[in-house]
């Protein structure tokens, strides 16, 4: 009884001390290139109409003079994460600070360097970093460079929202993104709504793009066995389907194996999660989403050696992109009927100290690996501080409960356990569950032979 009361007291103190979710405003300095003289009016048959098109003097641009300029930022934060937004640059989530690890999670160039990227219509992009919203004509579109409207709101459930929106000048389609941080959770919820207020059917697409710094230690978690190529490679044309993660003897889930740049879409995705993890930085990012609505997931990487990153960024480090779309690929469009709308929520959270992950939910990311000594290494990360103090880890082998070793760490935001798997046969079934009382936060089941090596 005394132990129970003590635990309850600790819980109450823990919850009350860290309950604040705050909103603040500040400014940030961004190196801004001068390219207005290369922006020309466009015609109705061009993809960027009526936004300007860019006609740079040559491919090695920018040569223009750059200057530091201050831009307003809006931040929302709780005790675990801080999300900073740039209303002036497409309402993007510009920085995501992981307070648990003390690291910035997202790639950031702190400069706006123009680059031609439209395939038709000669629009342009400025790679800045963070999360940008490509809408409605292309994944890299004027929507991610123009100022968006916004307001902030404290919600009745204690969460806070940064609500930002734009109306596309060509189609009059409206995109609203409500970015929500809850007091207890380490994820950012993107509540995305697209509306068609016009009397016309409108062809469109939408892609959310997350930029992350690329290193040789990055591992990609895309739960698929095949991917669709976005460009010509390996002798194939774009859109050919290839095996994943191993193709032609190469494991492409590790960036260290990427010799060529390529974009890959998951073909007919069946799972609600994906992401990446940098084993050198011990930091990653997880996306959890409704795959039946948000059908598109894309990974884009530059080639490892001599990437043309200077064309896009003034940051010498390269980046990769995790895209989230409504359509399966960036060559698909969808049509919205007059007066209709579509809305869904995505959850993105930073992940650290787990060595990666193989499965994720909104509440938990789980990593299960086999090491050289054939141990089962289990690491889990919990996003909700309320559940993280009372969670349990459960392991079943061939349906029988397996006792956790005494050194297993449970009951915190990280769950860790190492068990010997040397007696297991490849066909043995292991099942791992993280639960909060009766609620399963995550469940993983596989035969031992299919568990990946560390």
């Amino acid at each position: 009884m005394r132990r129970f009361l003590l635990a309850a007291l600790v819980s109450i103190l823990y919850l009350s001390v860290f309950a604040d979710v705050t909103i603040s405003e500040d400014k940030t300095s961004i190196t801004t290139y001068k390219f207005e003289n290369f922006l020309y009016p466009s015609g109705p048959w061009e993809q960027c109409y009526p936004y300007p098109r860019i006609d740079l003097p040559d491919e090695t641009f920018p040569v223009g003079i750059s200057a530091k300029k201050d831009f307003k930022t809006v931040a929302i934060e709780n005790e675990r994460i801080k999300a900073t937004f740039l209303p002036s640059h497409g309402g993007r989530l510009y920085k995501l600070f992981d307070k648990l690890s003390g690291k910035e999670v997202l790639y950031d160039t702190a400069s706006t360097k123009p680059a031609t990227l439209y395939s038709r219509g000669a629009g342009y992009i400025t790679v800045l970093g963070g999360f940008k919203h490509g809408f409605p004509s292309y994944a890299h579109s004027p929507s991610d460079t123009i100022p968006w409207d916004y307001y902030t709101r404290k919600n009745q459930d204690g969460s806070v929202s940064f609500i930002t929106w734009m109306t596309d000048l060509e189609t009059d389609l409206k995109l609203t993104v409500e970015n929500i941080i809850r007091e207890e959770a380490s994820y950012v919820e993107f509540k995305i709504t697209i509306e068609n207020p016009t009397p016309y059917s409108r062809r469109f697409y939408y892609w959310l793009c997350c930029s992350m710094e690329q290193t040789d230690e990055v591992e990609f978690t895309f739960p698929a066995d095949r991917m669709v190529m976005h460009g010509d490679m390996y002798g194939w044309p774009m859109r050919q389907v290839i095996g994943w993660p191993i193709y032609d003897g190469v494991d492409y889930s590790f960036f260290s194996n990427w010799d060529d740049q390529q974009g890959l879409f998951q073909l007919k995705q069946q799972e609600d999660f994906l992401g990446s993890y940098d084993r050198g930085k011990h930091e990653g990012i997880v996306r959890v989403f409704p795959h039946e609505t948000a059908k598109g997931s894309k990974l884009w990487c530059f080639q490892r050696n001599n990437p043309p990153v200077k064309m896009y960024s003034s940051n010498p480090k390269i980046y990769y992109e995790l895209f989230a779309g409504l359509t399966e690929s960036q060559d698909d469009y969808t049509v919205m009927q007059p007066g209709k709308s579509v809305s869904w929520s995505e959850y993105w959270y930073p992940l650290n100290s787990t060595g990666g992950f193989i499965k994720a939910t909104k509440e938990c990311a789980l990593n299960v690996r086999k090491d050289a000594a054939l141990n089962i290494n289990i690491n889990a990360f919990l996003t909700d501080r309320r559940t993280s103090i009372r969670t349990e880890l459960e392991l079943l082998i061939n349906g029988l409960k397996y006792p956790l070793p005494p050194q297993a760490e449970t009951g915190g935001q990280f769950l860790k356990a190492k068990l010997s798997g040397s007696d297991l046969k490849p066909e043995d079934i292991i099942e791992i569950t993280v639960r909060d009382g009766k609620n399963k936060l995550i469940n993983f089941k596989s035969n031992w032979g299919a568990v990946r090596n560390e």
């Binding site: 109705p44 048959w45 044309p237």
Partner: protein, 525 residues
């Protein structure tokens, strides 16, 4: 300048990354070229710069007396220039007040001397006196008869009425000289860019998504197609003069076609491309010795005779006969041509002359295809991980999926209807019987197996683009290999195999050459 009899604005947006995007004003024997920063007259090969220091001029009209009225769109200014290009006067300037403008794209001078401006960025039409003083405006952003969504071109009608092309509302509207709404032209339109008034009172509208220039009566009713539907690939701009000469810019073909007194004159614009099947994706043999092919990035298919490419069909778009990625190609016994239109999710068919016949919709990313000796079309439907077999009317006959870990790539069908296909997930060649049962498998790991052909003697042939080699396979496995000498012939390594009349050929760089095996493949018993 008054010798101009017709004008057209033609902005060239292709190729995509071209830096010199120009607009054209066509005359009887000359073209007036509006570049991004100047106006030039080009005649008989000579270039005469008329005006400079412009920032993407769009709208243009000739004033009585010969001065030039220009919408200097990038500067949000209307300029009047003399015939030497010297600035006479200007008005406007960037802003949203009555007297200022935001990216004005259209301008004309009516018979009363008023200057009418399409103030695109402010979504209204503004009327100024000849000195540039604001008189009145009409319209606002919206969907109603008196609203606009990015109005583009404007031109004058009878009684100084005002025509406005309204791309965002997919229509052309006519207003009185005072700005009162009169009539809307929207029937059958999928898109709108430019329009023009014919001397007979008809309105000609460029519907670039529908590949057509449509003709309307003055009351807004659709009458007919100019030339015929699908004649153009992407008609974006049109001009008609008082004599009824018609000039149309085709953004996809890269041409301006001027019909003057029944005579056709074609100007090649900067977007024009000479056809060159550079990186062959697929090829099939025609009846009369020609080859039909697609290339990796093209939105068309080509007919190649011994003298090179003799014709190309298609263009970029979603309409009939257009493509978003023309990929697989095959011919049936009648000589009809089937092409997979990958990103539009359909198979399109054409007669031997290239005339569009029909499209079979509802495919999930079709890429390669083959027409079998049974005249059935076999499609690698990559989005569904299977081969779909259909008849020449598009009816599905069979779906073939030899296993879960399968995605179809290049394929061919032999005389007994066995199918040879590359599983692109692991680069294996699989031979299937007509029911879809696997008969054999051969790994092409570390190779680029980009083309498959079926022989008549029980062999299938696979071309490996990485090593420029052809492999002969039958139920027993690999039976022969031939290395192609493309380097000395200066030919691209991408290409396609064609088997015809008992011989195997390799096609690329507009050439067809027979594949000779050092050791001939064993004939299948």
């Amino acid at each position: 300048m008054n010798k101009f009899v017709a004008f057209i604005l033609a902005l060239i947006s292709f190729p995509a990354l071209a830096h010199y995007n120009s607009m054209y004003l066509t005359g009887k024997n000359e073209i007036c070229l509006l570049t991004r920063d100047q106006i030039e007259i080009r005649a008989d090969g000579k270039v005469n710069t008329v005006a400079e220091d412009l920032f993407r001029p769009f709208g243009l009209d000739i004033l009585p007396g010969g001065n030039l009225l220009v919408a200097d769109s990038g500067n949000s200014t209307i300029k009047i220039l003399d015939d030497k290009g010297q600035l006479v006067s200007s008005f406007g300037g960037k802003g949203n007040s009555d007297s200022s403008l935001l990216r004005p794209l259209g301008v004309f001078c009516d018979e009363a001397g008023r200057i009418v401006v399409s103030d695109t960025g402010n979504n209204c039409i503004k009327v100024f006196d000849k000195e540039g003083s604001f008189l009145f405006k009409f319209g606002k952003r919206g969907y109603g008869d008196s609203d606009f969504l990015n109005p583009f071109h404007i031109f004058k009608g009878s009684n100084n009425s005002i025509f406005v092309t309204d791309p965002g509302n997919i229509c052309v509207k006519r207003y009185s000289k005072d700005g009162a709404f009169l009539v809307k032209f929207s029937e059958k339109l999928l898109s709108v860019s430019d329009a023009a008034l014919h001397p007979d009172g008809s309105i000609y509208i460029c519907d670039f998504l529908d590949r057509s220039v449509k003709i309307y009566a003055a009351d807004g009713k659709f009458k007919n197609y100019y030339k015929n539907r699908f004649y153009y690939n992407r008609p974006t701009l049109i001009a008609i003069n008082k004599q009824g000469d018609i000039a149309v810019n085709d953004d996809e073909k890269g041409t301006v076609e001027l019909n003057s007194a029944g005579k056709e004159i074609t100007f090649k614009t900067e977007g024009h491309r000479d056809l060159w099947a550079y990186k062959i994706f697929a090829a099939a043999a025609g009846k009369d010795g020609e080859v039909y092919c697609t290339d990796f990035s093209g939105d068309f298919y080509m007919k190649v005779s011994k003298d090179g490419i003799s014709a190309a069909f298609g263009g970029h778009g979603t309409g009939p006969g257009l493509f978003c990625g023309a990929k697989g190609i095959g011919l049936d016994a009648k000589g009809n041509i089937y092409v997979s239109d990958s990103f539009n999710g359909r198979i399109e068919s054409f007669d031997a002359g290239g005339k569009f016949l029909s499209d079979f919709k509802g495919f999930d990313w079709p890429l390669q295809l083959a027409v079998g000796p049974d005249d059935a079309v076999y499609v690698s439907e990559t989005g569904r991980n299977l081969i779909r077999k259909l008849d020449t009317a598009g009816k599905t006959l069979q779906e073939i999926k030899p296993g879960e870990y399968f995605n179809p790539g290049p394929l061919a069908v032999d005389a007994v209807l066995n199918i040879g296909v590359i599983n692109t997930l692991n680069k294996s060649f699989i031979m299937l019987d007509p029911s879809g049962k696997a008969l054999m498998s051969f790994s092409f790991e570390s190779k680029w197996p980009v083309s498959v052909a079926a022989g008549t003697e029980g062999n299938f042939y696979v071309y490996d683009a990485l090593e420029s080699a052809v492999f002969a396979l039958n139920k027993g496995g690999l039976v022969a290999k031939a290395k192609l000498d493309l380097q000395s012939q200066r030919r691209q390594k991408y290409g396609a195999l064609i088997f015809k009349e008992g011989r195997l050929f390799f096609f690329n760089s507009n050439q067809l050459s027979e594949v000779i095996f050092p050791t001939p493949p064993v004939k299948q018993p």
